[in-house]
Each structure stands twice: as structure tokens, then as C-alpha cells.
Subunit: 495 residues, 2 copies
């Protein structure tokens, strides 16, 4: 049935179409069923809502996500039909029954997820099956391949050394990426860095970069920026590299389910799609981190190596301190201010952020064959070369030479509150997860300027010494943040 | 935030609200997030869609399901706030990690499912965990209890013998329920029968009864009908007995996942909520049935007995032929015509449907302490008493004495096609699942009059002997049905 597209600026967060009830009856579809949309030789799938007014029988309203994916405009015609059953369901059931899946079978599942032919509950079954039935190394490779093949791939000339790094999340304020990328690009490496926005954390790298830069680059823009500067700091979401990932993560995060095999495939597929040949994986471990001890971290490392091998990626896995936040600011603006202070070699810049960035950049450079890598990394940073490279990358992404102006506009939120030590004592623990929740209460990541600044992270404190400053654009949120800080023992202090 | 309800006759198939984008920003909610609705002292949850036009900042559009559940009208005000995280997620994760859940924990999960505070993917995780981690007998009892306690319960005087029967589905045309109910009610038993509509089959008992009767009874109506006639034949959906079940089944059916523990709890909770003290479970077994052999059927029976015991329900499990359809018609109208022929003792009525109904009614009566039960069941049916009881029940449900008129109006679909044997031969197999698909192609259960009539189910056939007649209200569907019948070997005949 051909229907005319009506634009309603309708945001559903998933592909939804709205049909008039008469049209639905004719198509023999019910609410919450799926329909197939055929447009320019491709098929897409969407969930059906039904209205008795607001849309006419010859019309169809598409949710904003669909308008974008289909590149269709109001008034255009589209072919709509009842959707056949997705073949992915059968394969997911097979996995639930304990069978192993082949590369072809994983590709069918992932392809159908990308084209929205698989419902969210079906994705949940898929994740549950991976978690409870386990995945062999071969299955992890198969899943990774499937995720790469169902999206775009970046290609660079053979003479370039394309590198990447990834940190297993969970550490507040751990914003090494802009520093590592700038240093490595100065060393002549190609660093097509794509990052994600925060899902459950206080800020993702993409959120932090966005405080001063355009991050929604097209493939074309991205290549232009890389050709000019050797690197980029883009948001992965707009590039459709391994596009199944976003949908899968959304379902995973509903109950904060960590499915290790899926995490491995998600990370590795994005790196492979970005063209990386040298990859450093950073696994922080310790109380509060994803890997709670070194043994767990090493087991994870083994699995990364197993996947990297068949893809001919040189990989190095490093294990770092995961018990405390890195840097002093947590929240998009506050983290960017930390990064700038390190790049500008300000004397009171956060030392741990600086040292960790030099360490990681050194590891990447060494892996790519650069001698005396760590020493060179330090020189690049301390000479100001990394700072100039960072300015170059950001200006290229913005298409304007207005870096200084953007930096000057960076301001933490207007309401703030500093908590001091009531008497002398000792900080015993600083909880990464609770810091995260605290920042979210204060308004991050939606409110870019909200967050916290850590004056002290560990060790002895004097009476009246400042411990932490809370920032928020709302007085109510500031109060709630203070209440949370006190009740939940975000910082364990022994007086 | 208080918002004014706007009615848009909006069918989403799940609880959805539509907010203006400005309102969403103020509430700090995004599309696909959940909001909490407070109305008349109770909290409900709904998924958010966002419009930029069609709804004003001070308004909220509720999906039809919500309008009904909340009993709210256009123009009324409702309190809307951002939803806190559901505690059910944590418990579901606990189950996924292999831990056992207590009665209290199951109750939290089920209660949150009923109030829509659990998303469909979370329900999928819950089902996957049951299936892959298994459930102890105690956990099955706990889950059953939770499903009973979160809905309404029917209560009858202690002097009444309240009975029920349940058939594990999968057998086409197996419409014994109206017959068994009528016979048992004649024998003085109380039979508060609630049935479901078809989900993936050609017709549910509720669909069949609906061809001549109102089936959407309120609790009040249902009691009136039972007090007058001793029984009812109602649709379970409108009664909110074990109301979590519908939501769970919807998710289960997405990939036709059979989760045995959930099936046991679903069945038992509805029987307990309906007040049953004597229960007969019919497990058909054999090729094409849910239990593919007697061993499987017996294992299932053991689990039913384990759950029935702590609830003080007398239970009898019977094992019946599951390889062939029962009766001749498949489809709502065609099955009702079969039932009427048996009740009227028409000589050419389907013998297998008649005998199975007498057998099951006898089992129920015996369990409730009636002597010579099978013989009495036959007498009740063959004397016409069961027919008169059936007429009484249907008239009571309709609130009108117009049974005859309704029966006369029962007509199979207008387009039909009879397939005959091309030469003499032998029917080797008749596939229940394929008959089901065939009927759905012809238009069931939505088209009440569509379906098939089986002239012959097994054994030798002569040349030109009619095998099957297909009925549909659409010529195209009839053609598609014929194609499916031929290509898919619905009936295996050796010529």
C-alpha cells in the first residue's frame, strides 16, 4: 500500500509509524505489530501506533529516527506492507538452547537488528543467551565480524599507521582520550578516534569534546579532518560504524547488564571498522572498577587478544589503577577544563591525568614501532606540541579558527558548594559509582556545566581543607546532591 | 507536574504517553524513557513519545490502554513525574546470575510487571533466566503465588464444588471446553471457566464462544451468570485474574519461546484465582503436540502436581492423543458448529470431539466425588441436558433469550474450495502446526468465519473423496491457502 509521508516532528526513540485505524485494518496490522517500509530499493521495519485522528487514511507519520534513516521528506510516497516474521528469532532461540552459532547466523541476527526487524525483547533474549550459555572464542570472532560487516568501514592508505586505544569504562573523570590522540598524532600516527556519549555515566568522551567542538562528523568530514591533522575526535553515533551497537547497548543498559562477550564484540568491531591496526586496551582494576581485581582483568585481556588475532590487529593490554577517579573534574565542562590544563602544562594541573595519558600514548607509540616512546610522548606534551595539535584538530572539526573563544566560554555551573573537612582525618575511599550518581543528580551529562571538582582524592586532610565542590544549574539539584554526598558516603573519611 | 489529559483515540498496544517537547525538557525525560503517573492514590508507568505539534505543553495524550486502566477522561488533570528505577531489574539480574528468588522477590517482579514499571526487554530477561537457569519446585510455587496475589480472586461459598479443566494447547480444533463445562454444570458442579483468545493459534476458546456470545464479563456479571447457571464461558482478559500473564505471554510469543516454569505458573495462577478446588489437566502428546512423547508429558504432569499440592487443589492429569486435530472444523465459526452438532446429538457429529469431552467431563466429575462419572457424563450429553445448559449459559451471558437466532446466523465464509483425493490412497499424517498456519492464511482468528473443515483425518481414502474444505472471505487468501496446502504437505497422503 502506498502512503503519503506526513511529518509530525515525532520523537519515539525507536522506529515507529502512526497509521489511521482504517489503514491499519486494511493492512491487517495491529498496534505494536511491525510493518515493512520499502524505500529506494531497501526494506526497513517499524512498530505501529494507531490514531483515529491526526493522520488521514492515505497518510503515514514516521518517527524522527525513521525520517533520518530513510532520508525521506513530507509529501513523498512510501510503500508499506505487513511485515513477515524475522528469521533472527529462530537463531536467537537456537543460541538459548545452548547451540553454537556460525558467522553467517550471527550476521543474520545483527543485520536484522540494524534494520529494526528485531524487537527489543528479542535483543534481550540474545544478550541473555550470550551471558547464560557463554560464547566460544570463535563465536566472539563471528559476532565481531558480523558487527563490522553490517556497517561502514574506514579505509586509509597502506603507508599510514592507524592506531586506536580503548579504556574499559567505569572510572570517573578518566578523560585521557583527547590527550593521547593529540600526542600520538604529533608522533605521526593516524588516529581516527570515535567515542560515545554517556549512557549511564556522568560524561562520555563525546560529551566532553562537544563542549568546545562539533562532533557529528560525516564520513567525508572525518576524512578531511584526518587528512589535515592526522586525527579526529568524533562522536561514533553519526558514522554508522558497527551500527547495531547502539541498539544493543540500549537494551543492555535497562538492567545494567554486563554481557562480556557483547562488550568485547562491540569494542573490537568499532576499532576494526575504524581501520585500526595497532590497538591499546586499558583495563582499570580494583574496588569499584569493572574488573574488581587483577585476575579478572587478565582474563578479560586474554579474550581481547583472542579476538584481535584473526583480524591481524597488534594489540597491547595494560592494567591500570581503577580504585579512584582520574583527574579532578567530573562532568563534561569540568573534565574539558582538566584536559586543557594538562595540555597547557599549568603547574597545578591534575598529575594523575597527565601521567596516565603519557603512559597510554607511549604504549600506543611503542606498539606502532616508535622507539623511546614514553620519553617522546612526554616531550610532545610538555613542549606544547600536543596542545597545538589539539587546537588544530578542534578547529578542523569546527571549520573555524575560534578555539580560544570557545575555551574562554567554558564555565562550570553557576550554583556551587564546597564541602570541607570538619576536622583533620584521612580519606579511605572514593567510590567511582557513587561519584557518577552524584554527578547525575547534579545534572550531568545533559547539563554540560554540572558536575564536581575533587580537591583531594586520597590521604590525610587538615581541618577545613576543601574536599569537593559540587556544581549545578539548579539550586534544588545542588541540595539533593549534598544530601546524597552525605547519606551515601561518596567519600569515606576517617576523622 | 500536573497536565491536562487529551484524548486522541491513540492505540499503541502498550502504555504510552505523548508529551510536547517543552514539557519533556522540563521533566528531564527523553523519548522511550518512562514517566510515573499518579492518579487517585495509585502510581502507573508509561513510555514517553515526544511531539512538537498536536499536543500543547500543558497537555498529555494517553494511549487507549492507559485511559482504560486509569479510568480517566479528556480534560481531567493528572500528576506526571520522572520515573525512578524499577527494583524488579535488580531481582531479574539476580535470577540471571543463578540465584534462587523468594516469594517476596517474585511478588515485586510480578507487581511491577502489572503496573508497567518493567519494560518488555526486562520481561524477556526474566523469561530467559527462568529457561536457562531453571526453577526449583519452590520457586514455581512462589511465582504462582505472586501471579495470584497481584490480581483479583473469585470466591464462592464453601458448599460449592468449584472445578476447572485446562488443556495444554497445540491441537487444532480441540474445542472440548463448552461441552465439558455444560456437562459438569448439569452435574451440579460450579465451573467458572475463563478462556483466552488465540495468540498464535487459529482460534482460542474465547474466540469460538464469541461467535454467539458476549464474553467480556465484569466480575459482577460473571457472578450473576454463575449463580444462575452454575457456570460461565468468559474471556479471561477482562477479569484481571493474574493480570501479569498477558504482558508476559506477549513477550514470550515474540520468538515462540516456551518457558515451562512460566507456563505452569500462568495456568495454575489463573485456576487458583478463579477459585478452583478440583482441576483436570489434559496433556495431549505425540508428533506435533507440545509434549512430543509420553515421557515428556509425564514429566510435565509431575510439575503440575508439585504446584497444586501447596495450594490444596485436587488435581488429575490425563494424557490424550495429540497427533491429530480434534473435531472437523478449525476456525471460530467452524468450531462452534462442531460443538453445536455434538450438543444436539446430530448423528454425523464429530465422534472424537464428543468422546473426548465425555472423557474429560467424567474425569472432572470423578475428581469432585461423583460416582459412575463417565456414564453420567454421557447420559447428560446424550439426553440433551447439556445442550439446554449451554443455551442457558449463553443466554445469561448475553442477557437475552436469543440463542436460536444467533445459531442460525452462524455461517462459514463465503468463498470455499474443496480438495479431493486425486486417486485412492492413505492419509499418513495431518500436521497440527501446519493446519494452524493454513487457517491463519485463510484469515483466522480475526475473520471469524474463515478456516477449514476436515472431511477425513486418517486412514484410507477413495478416488475423488473430499479431504478438506478451505473457507475464506477473500479470494486471494483462498488461493494462498491452497498454495500453502499443496506446497507444505499439510496432509501427508500416500497414493
Amino acid at each position: 500500500m502506498r502512503l503519503r509521508v506526513k511529518d509530525f516532528t515525532f520523537f519515539a526513540g525507536r522506529p515507529v509509524v502512526i497509521l489511521n485505524s482504517l489503514t491499519a485494518t486494511k493492512l491487517n496490522v495491529f498496534q505494536n505489530n511491525r510493518v515493512r517500509l520499502d524505500h529506494k530499493g531497501k526494506d526497513y521495519y517499524a512498530v505501529v501506533d494507531i490514531f483515529q485522528k491526526g493522520v488521514r487514511p492515505e497518510e503515514i507519520i514516521l518517527s524522527r529516527e525513521l525520517m533520518t534513516t530513510l532520508r525521506i521528506k513530507e509529501g513523498e510516497m512510501i510503500e508499506v506492507s505487513i511485515s513477515d516474521h524475522s528469521p533472527a528469532g529462530k537463531l536467537i532461540k537456537k543460541k538459548m538452547d545452548g547451540h553454537r552459532l556460525t558467522d553467517k547466523e550471527f550476521e543474520i541476527i545483527i543485520d536484522q537488528i540494524v534494520r529494526n526487524h528485531v524487537t527489543e525483547p528479542e535483543i534481550a533474549y540474545f544478550l541473555a543467551a550470550q551471558r547464560m550459555m557463554g560464547m566460544t572464542a570463535q563465536e566472539s570472532v563471528n559476532l565481531t565480524w558480523a558487527m563490522v560487516r553490517t556497517g561502514g568501514v574506514l579505509k586509509f592508505g597502506a603507508q599510514r599507521k592507524v592506531v586506536d586505544k580503548h579504556c574499559i569504562g567505569g572510572i570517573a573523570g578518566n578523560r585521557t582520550t583527547p590527550l593521547v590522540v593529540s600526542i600520538c598524532a604529533c608522533a605521526g600516527l593516524t588516529f581516527p578516534k570515535t567515542s560515545s556519549r554517556a549512557i549511564t555515566s556522568a560524561a562520555g568522551t563525546a560529551d566532553v569534546i562537544e563542549t568546545i567542538s562539533n562532533i557529528q562528523l560525516s564520513i567525508h568530514d572525518l576524512k578531511r579532518v584526518i587528512n589535515k591533522t592526522g586525527a579526529c575526535l568524533a562522536w561514533g553515533g553519526s558514522l554508522r560504524l558497527a551500527p547495531s551497537d547502539d541498539k544493543i547497548i540500549q537494551v543492555e543498559k535497562l538492567i545494567n547488564l554486563d554481557v562480556e562477550s557483547q562488550m568485547l564484540a562491540s569494542i573490537m568491531s568499532k576499532k576494526i571498522a575504524a581501520g585500526a591496526k595497532y590497538l591499546v586496551i586499558d583495563i582499570p582494576y580494583g574496588r569499584g572498577a569493572k574488573a574488581s581485581n587483577l585476575k579478572q582483568a587478565k582474563e578479560m585481556a586474554k579474550k581481547f587478544r583472542e579476538i584481535a588475532h584473526p583480524f591481524k590487529i597488534k594489540i597491547d593490554v595494560v592494567f591500570t589503577e581503577g580504585r579512584y577517579p582520574i583527574g579532578q573534574g567530573v562532568g563534561p565542562v569540568l573534565e574539558m577544563l582538566d584536559v586543557i590544563r594538562v595540555l597547557q602544562n599549568t603547574p597545578e594541573c591534575p598529575k594523575d591525568l597527565k601521567e596516565k595519558s603519557i603512559f597510554l600514548a607511549g604504549k600506543v607509540m611503542k606498539l606502532a614501532g616508535i622507539k623511546n616512546a614514553r620519553r617522546k610522548a612526554r616531550e610532545i606534551l610538555e613542549s606544547g606540541a600536543a596542545y597545538r595539535k589539539f587546537v588544530e584538530i578542534i578547529n578542523a572539526q569546527n571549520g573555524k579558527e575560534d578555539f580560544e573563544k570557545r575555551i574562554r566560554a567554558l564555565k562550570p555551573a553557576k550554583f556551587k558548594l564546597t564541602i570541607k573537612a570538619v576536622k583533620k582525618g584521612k580519606i579511605l575511599h572514593l567510590d567511582n559509582k557513587k561519584i557518577n550518581t552524584l554527578c547525575r543528580i547534579l545534572g550531568t551529562p545533559e547539563t554540560r556545566s554540572a558536575g564536581i571538582f575533587l580537591h583531594k582524592k586520597i590521604g590525610r586532610v587538615k581541618r577545613d581543607e576543601p574536599l569537593i565542590t559540587l556544581f549545578s544549574e539548579s539550586k534544588t539539584k545542588l541540595k539533593e546532591g549534598l544530601k546524597y554526598f552525605k547519606n551515601e558516603k561518596v567519600m569515606e573519611v576517617k576523622f
